[in-house]
């Protein structure tokens, strides 16, 4: 493939065109709906960052109660406990299960908080011209979009445990309030990351990069 615009800046927008983000077909910039796939076309959504922040705020808002309420309510013959995310991890660590405690802390605390920070940094980076390179910010966005879905694993584990451990008086696990807030937080964070238009990262890119995309053989 070769760059369409030769030496002039090689983006669709600079060429008076708009690319479909769903099927990559190119149309004149004033086109509103993609004629190939029917997706709504917009060269840049002026409200993209507002949408990102709106979803981001709800996501962070749900993450707070997700940590305050218990995630699981466990009843066994000997005791009953309502564990929050962090509380449960601390409990495991005290019992010597350091490995699982660290996995839980990484999956349920480090990754969600990291996602919030990265999305905020990306949105601010567009607004205030980030010092980080475009390539790096683009990779951060891809990582957040990829990892975002995996946070649902906590909710699924709660669902599996509560349906499985129903052994009458011997042992029973019920989902706690936090599972609901945690699920909502994950979903809203995913929506926030999806609302972020990665093309905005590259719009500040001053010089056109190499004209032809690399051709790669499969690894």
């Amino acid at each position: 493939m070769t760059s369409a615009a030769g030496q002039s800046p090689p983006t669709a927008r600079d060429s008076g065109l708009v690319g479909c983000r769903r099927c990559t077909r190119v149309w004149p910039i004033e086109t509103e709906v993609c004629g190939r796939c029917g997706h709504a076309l917009q060269s840049r959504d002026p409200q993209a960052l507002q949408k990102v922040w709106a979803w981001w705020l709800v996501g962070v808002g749900c993450y707070v109660p997700a940590n305050l309420y218990p995630m699981l309510e466990t009843r066994t013959l000997v005791d009953s406990q309502d564990a929050t995310i962090v509380g449960g991890a601390v409990e495991l660590a005290l019992h010597g299960n350091w490995g699982i405690a660290i996995v839980i802390l990484v999956a349920s605390v480090l990754i969600p908080v990291g996602k919030f920070l990265v999305i905020a940094a990306l949105a601010l980076g567009v607004r205030y011209r980030s010092g980080l390179s475009e390539r790096l910010r683009h990779q951060l966005h891809e990582i957040v979009e990829y990892i975002g879905r995996w946070s649902m694993i906590d909710v699924f584990v709660v669902a599996i445990l509560s349906s499985l451990v129903q052994l009458g008086t011997l042992a029973a696990i019920r989902p706690g309030q936090a599972s609901l807030y945690f699920a909502l937080s994950v979903i809203f964070t995913m929506l926030s990351a999806q609302a972020f238009d990665s093309r905005l990262i590259w719009d500040t890119d001053p010089a056109p990069k190499p004209a032809a995309p690399a051709e790669r053989s499969p690894a």
């Binding site: 099927c23 796939c37 029917g38 699924f156 599996i160 051709e215």
Partner: protein, 214 residues
Amino acid sequence: MTHPADRTDLDALIACPRCDALYKVREPAHRERAVCARCHHVLIAPRRGAGAQIVAVALTVVVLVVAATIFPFLEVSVGGATNASSILDAALAFSGSGLFLLLALAVAALIVVIPVTRALLVIYVIAPLVFDRRPLPHASSAFRLSEALRPWSMAEIFAIGCAVALVKVADLATVSLGPAFWMFSVLVVLVVAQDSFLCRYSVWKALEREARPT
């Protein structure tokens, strides 16, 4: 400002959906990939004969998800008491009250409804192309919906969740794996494989070409 393309040859251009870089299409050879020079997004990755494989995998996914939903996937026992749980049981674990019911529906959608819907949409869109037929009505909308649902199809995440749950219950009770657990494991591999076979550009191109009145 130059307009490099007039309306007639827009067909031959491709805009990177992630960074807006514009390229003139030169289709890579079988098993090669065209990658955006700026952001490294894979633009085109054609594979000959992928269509039939994708349809076969999608059919298997439908059968597996339906079967895995009915059969138990994990069974615990403590003392004399045992309990087996199917995937529907897991989703419905939340169905206590009000908002939890909503969560139950969401979980059922993420692990059963959306993966099956995606597989059915893919069959609907790609099967006619494999057999050199005209696309079925609304094939473009169907494929667009399937692509939009992609991040929300979480069967593979649920399968890994089973493994985590196993570890957590291990010291509380004896756990045994039901048939559905193995079906779900196969499913995970298939779902991942399907996404890597699918060259979106080739599908859109084929839909566009075949839909044109002759």
